[in-house]
Structures are given as C-alpha cells and as structure tokens.
C-alpha cells in the first residue's frame, strides 16, 4: 500500500503538530522519520494509520482519501496497519498471548487459526517461552517484542513503529532493529526515531522539524 | 473470618495513622508556613472553585425550594423541614462537590510529583515536602472551604427567603425583617465549624492519597479517585459526629 499526505495539517488547540506536510511512502519502502522531540513524528504516524483526523489536508491510502471514509470503512481498512507504540500500549490485564490474539479475536478469525497465527508471530519475535506472562513482568525489550508481535499478527501491509528503541540498551536496540527489518519484509515500513541509527539501514529518511519536512 | 476482621482493622488503623501523620506534620510546620505556596493554593482551591460553588448552591437551593413548595398547601411542617434541609442537605452536598474538586486536584498534583520522583528530589536537597507542599495546601483547603461555605450560606439565606415566600406566603421584605427570629448565631456557627472540619478532612485525606501514589499515569488516576471517595466518607462521618454535638452546644 502506498501512503501519502497532502498539505497535512494537525492542530491540538493552540499547538500545531503538523503544518502542511506533503510527502509519500511508496509500497514496500522503508523510511525513517526523524527529528527533535515535538517535531510531529508521532502525530504523522498516527495520521497515517487513521488514528488522528487531519485538521486540514488529507492522508491517502493508495488513492483513497481517508477524510471521506465512514468510521466503519476506516476501521475495515485499518486491518492493513500494524503499529508498535512508543509506550508499548500492552494491556496489563491480559497475558502476552492474549495481547497478541486481540486483533484476531476482534476480527472474528476462527479460534484455531488465530491461535496458530499468534504462536507463529510470538515465535518470530522470540517470545515463545513467555506466552502466559503478564506485560508488567516483562523487560523493556520483551515488551517491545510483544508489541511487534501484536502489530504483525493480522498480517498488515504497513508497519509503523514509534520510537521503538527508547529506553533500550544498544544490544537490545540492534536486535529489535533486526526484528523490524525481518518482519517488515515485503511491507511498507515507517519508523519514527530521534536520530537515524546504523542498525536500521533504510532507503529514505525524512527529517521533521516543527511539523514540516526539513531539507538538508 | 477472624483473620479477615483483623486485616480490616489493621487496614483501617494504618489508614487512620497515615492521616494522623499528615495532620501532625502540618501542625508542626504551621508557624513556618510558606506564604507563596499558601497564596497559590488559595487561588487554586478557593478562588477558582467560586463559580462552581455558586452554581451548585443555586441549583441545590432551587431544588430544595421546589421540593418544599409541594408541601405549601398541605402541611405547616413544611417550614421546619425546609429549615433543616437548607442547613443540612445544602452544606453536605456542597461539601461533597467541593471535596471532589479540591480533593481530586490536590491528590493528583501531589501524586504527580510523587510518581515523577520530584518529592524525593526535594528531600535530596533537604527540603521537607511537608513544609512547602503539604502544610500550605491543608491550610488553604480549610480556609477555602470555609470561605466558599460562607458564600453559600448567603445563597442559602436568599433561597430561604424565597422558600418562605412560596411556602408561607411571607413577603421577602418581611422575611428579612423577621430575620433575627429565623436565623440564630448558633446555626451559623454550627455551619461554619462543620465546613471548616470538612475542609480540613478533604485536605488531609487527599494529601495522604497523593503521597501514597505509585505507578505512573494509572497511579495518579487511582490516587485522585481514592481521594474523592475517602473525602466523601470522611464528610459523612464528620457530619454524623459533629451535628448532635453542635446542636447541643450551639443551638438553643
């Protein structure tokens, strides 16, 4: 899926998170969006996934403008997105396995198939040994892996990762970077980072400052 | 069963102990109160709550007048009922609303400082958080509720005049003429002592909840929620404990 933004502007009250941003992310591309804190990286990722509505301008999924979609159509199309959140956003009341099963159960995937796919996703991120543990008892790296597993379990075409290395040591950072590259094979990958890192070689970087793309 | 009772008793004692500790340390710092913090807390708790208080007082008063109005044609006793309602129901309900506002805000602010490690930071530079954060807030809460309650008593008196007009057909002018007969200083003093006690309880209980907070955003939310609930409980308890005593001492 190709993602593009057209004069995308997002405001929260008096603060402007994104200002007239026009850019695109071709199908299968790997992009790092980087820049200082408050530059609009998280906002851009959430707009791309349809989690935040643009104040002005629009986001297009292939050639479909998200502004015109009904709530149901948007939700149906969001099956194409997996997102790794900055805060992990795992549910502490659920086990690791149930957290990963959540997107499948909500989409009414038959239980046997859902279970097989969740186990497969957890195996790929290396968490097969921690299925029954609660997120609060996991290390930072393991939580991130669990978040990746939940993001990919519904087989999305687009994988978004918001600052996936924050609070991780260099070694864990490298292993999560490898994991992201591996699981995003054949998908569109957009990663938001404070700085580009060597561990994550990508075809393109976009630098966001004050909600707009900064050149050079 | 016995163990459950024991655990409950222990829990209650520990809660009381924590509250008593907050109160004691506030009293200790009373002579050396931080003036700037006190002013800030007074604006936050008192001044900013004024519109809310006036709104609530007007709504409660109007509702009570409506309810008593029904008895106008039926029962002479409506007047006595109206009297006790305005002086009991109103202050109690207002205490609950103010408790929610001041208590939740106080607990949330302290909990935020707590989970962010800023309280530890203060101790690190040998400043006692009780002196600059807790004591001024407890005093400010007491003064705020006292002041706000006085305003609402004024509103209550106006509504009482309206109620008198509706229930007894007493013209408002005559009502204020006969004011001395209807309102006794003892009643007023009782109301003021009660509201001061509510204000103190709200501050102590919410401070205790805020200082206990742990665990990020969820912890701050839990602390604010706990402050509201224990504030309600404390107000009901104080109401029951103080009213019979005040009625005996102050009301002829």
């Amino acid at each position: 899926m190709q993602l593009s933004t057209h004069a995308l502007t997002l405001r929260f009250g008096p603060t402007t998170a994104l200002s007239a941003l026009t850019t695109n992310f071709p199908e299968g591309s790997r992009t790092v969006v980087w820049g200082p804190a408050g530059g609009g990286k998280t906002s851009l990722l959430k707009c791309l996934a349809g989690l935040l509505r643009p104040t002005e301008g629009e986001v297009r999924w292939d050639d479909v403008s998200t502004s015109g979609l009904s709530a149901e159509a948007r939700r149906a199309a969001q099956v194409d997105f997996g997102m790794v959140f900055q805060t992990d956003a795992l549910f502490d009341s659920l086990t690791v396995l149930d957290n990963v099963l959540l997107p499948l159960r909500n989409r009414r995937v038959p239980e046997a198939e859902a279970s097989a796919r969740a186990h497969e996703a957890l195996r790929r991120v290396g968490l097969s040994h921690a299925l029954d543990r609660r997120p609060e008892h996991l290390s930072g790296g393991m939580k991130k892996r669990c978040g990746v597993a939940r993001a990919i379990v519904a087989r999305p075409h687009v994988l978004l990762a918001d600052d996936p290395f924050s609070g991780l040591d260099p070694q864990t950072e490298r292993s999560i970077a490898e994991l992201l590259l591996e699981v995003s094979e054949g998908r569109t990958l957009v990663v938001a980072l404070p700085d580009p890192v060597d561990a994550l070689p990508v075809t393109r970087t976009v630098r966001l400052v004050d909600g707009a793309e900064a050149r050079g | 069963m016995i163990r459950a009772v024991g655990r409950l008793t222990l829990w209650a004692l520990r809660g009381l102990g924590a509250n008593a500790l907050v109160l004691a340390r506030t009293l200790f710092y009373l002579p050396r109160l931080d003036g700037g913090e006190l002013r800030r807390a007074l604006v936050l708790f008192g001044f900013r709550s004024l519109p809310l208080t006036l709104g609530a007082a007007a709504l409660i008063g109007a509702t009570v007048v409506l309810q008593i109005g029904v008895y106008a044609t039926r029962l002479y006793a409506g007047w006595a009922a109206g009297f006790s309602l305005l002086w009991e129901f109103g202050p109690l309900l207002l205490g609950l609303v103010m408790g929610a506002r001041i208590g939740a805000r106080n607990a949330a602010e302290l909990a935020l400082l707590n989970v962010n490690g800023q309280l530890e930071g203060l101790r690190g530079i040998s400043l006692d958080p009780f002196r600059i954060l807790v004591a001024p807030r407890v005093v400010a809460s007491l003064l705020s509720v006292l002041g706000l309650a006085s305003v609402t008593f004024l509103v209550a008196i106006i509504w009482q005049a309206v109620a008198a007009y509706l229930t007894l057909g007493l013209p408002v002018r005559i009502f204020f003429g006969a004011f001395a007969d209807l309102l006794f200083w003892g009643d007023l003093a009782a109301g003021i002592i009660k509201s001061a006690a509510y204000g103190l309880a709200i501050a102590v209980v919410s401070t205790t909840a805020g200082l206990k907070a742990a665990g990020g955003a969820a912890g701050v939310g839990r602390a604010a929620a706990a402050a509201v609930v224990s504030g309600c409980a404390a107000i009901f308890f104080l109401d029951l404990a103080l009213t019979p005593w005040l009625a005996k001492v102050l009301v002829r």
């Binding site: - | 709504l59 109690l92 701050v220 609930v229 109401d239």
Partner: protein, 251 residues
C-alpha cells in the same frame, strides 16, 4: 467548567449518541456489563448505604430540634420525610456519591489508557473503544443506580426511624410511613436516577478519553470528570424536579 454548561452538555450528548451507535454496531459483551455492575454494586453500595444512613440520623436530629421549638410533635414529620427521601434525597445523594466513586474510577481508568496509547492500540486491533469501554459502563450504571437509590431510601428511612425510636423515645415508625408517596414521586425518582445513571459514566468517560500527555493529564481528567458528573447530576435533579412540580401544579 470552561465554555459554559451548554457546550459541555453538548459534548456529553454527542458522546452518548456515539456510544449508543457504536454499541449497536459492534455489540456489547455481556460479561463486561456484568463485571462493571458487580464492581459498581460492591464499591458504591457501601458508600451510599452508610452515607445515607448517617444522613438520615443527622436530618432527624436537626428536625427534632426544630420540631420541639415550633410544634412539638415530631411524628407528623414522618410521612413527608419518607416522601422527600424517596423523591429527592436518595436519588440525588446516591447520584452524587456514585458520580464521585464511579466517575473518579472511570475517568482515572480511561485517562490512563488514553495517555498510554492503549485506546489507539485497541482501535488498530479492530475494536471500538466506545463499544468496548464506555458502553458496558453506561449500561451497568443505568441498571445499577436505581437499585442503589432504593438502597439509599431503605438506609435513610430506617436510620431515621431507629434514631427517633431509640434516641428520642418517640414514634419512629411514622418515618417508615409511605402514605404520602404518589405515583408521580416514584416516577420522578426513577427518571432522575435513570438520567443520572446515564450521565455519570458519559461525563467521566468524556474527560478520560480526552486526556492527552502525561500523568498530569490523568489527574486533570479525574478532577474535571468528577466535578462535571456531580454538577450534571445536580442539574438533572433540578430540571426533573421542576418538570414534575409544574406537572403537579397543573393538575
């Protein structure tokens, strides 16, 4: 309380409509509703029962002092006391206490989920946060608040009867006399509790869902959510009382 009460109520009405629509589209899990009902019942029931029991004691203590001054016979206050408790005091006290208890915990829970990005994670997991989180709380609250109000009536009238009988050695049974209660009174109480029952979780959820930023935003959400829930209940109470007053005056 910025922007005036009308705009605030507008936001809550809109959230209510969206929640109902989301619930109709996605369905509501019965287990979640039952879980919230149980939580509401266990957490608020004690507060409301004890609170209104105390309230009854205090009210008749004051009424006793007044009655001695003016006409001597307290028992004559019994039937109107029962009627007032049922029509006015139990509904509003139960609503304000539930707004404190349940409003605070709802705003805290949803606020924490909001700042932890869990609402967005739910959305990307094909779940509707309104159907999943708000609707069960709404249904549970509408079902449970009337029961809590009945509990409040029982607590406040029985405490009054006990106080009069044992503390003042008078005819306490008069305070259990429902002879003045009319269908209109019951209806008024029911309308109040149903409206407040719907308003409380909506008002609290609104501020919880809006929480953005850090832990401070959650504290703010709880404060504003609880206050708005309480004030909304007072407003509903007044409006319903006024409506029934006008209706009864016309008859």
């Amino acid at each position: 309380m910025t922007g005036g009460p009308l705009r605030v109520l507008g936001a809550q009405t809109m959230l209510f409509a969206r929640t109902v629509r989301a619930a109709a589209r996605h369905g509501v899990r019965r287990r979640e509703v039952l879980r919230h009902m149980a939580e509401l019942g266990t957490s608020s029931a004690l507060l409301i029962a004890v609170g209104l029991f105390f309230f009854g004691v205090v009210l008749v203590t004051i009424a006793w002092a007044q009655a001695r001054k003016y006409f001597g016979n307290i028992a004559v206050l019994g039937p109107p006391y029962f009627q007032l408790i049922l029509r006015e005091f139990s509904p509003i006290m139960a609503a304000v206490l539930a707004a404190s208890r349940q409003g605070a915990s709802t705003a805290a829970a949803l606020g924490a989920m909001s700042v932890n990005e869990q609402l967005e994670a739910l959305e990307l997991s094909a779940a509707d946060p309104l159907a999943e989180l708000v609707a069960p709380r709404l249904i549970a609250s509408v079902l449970v608040l009337p029961l809590l109000t009945v509990l409040g009536v029982v607590a406040a009238t029985s405490s009054a009867a006990l106080t009069i009988t044992f503390a003042f050695q008078n005819n306490g049974a008069a305070f259990l006399d429902p002879s003045l209660v009319t269908t209109g009174d019951v209806l008024s109480a029911l309308v109040k509790t149903l409206l407040c029952g719907a308003f409380i979780p909506i008002a609290a959820s609104l501020r919880g869902l809006q929480a953005q930023g850090g832990a401070g935003a959650v504290g703010e959400a709880v404060t504003v959510g609880v206050v708005e829930a309480c004030m909304g209940c007072l407003l509903i109470d007044f409006l319903v009382a006024a409506a029934f007053f006008i209706l009864s005056a016309q008859q």
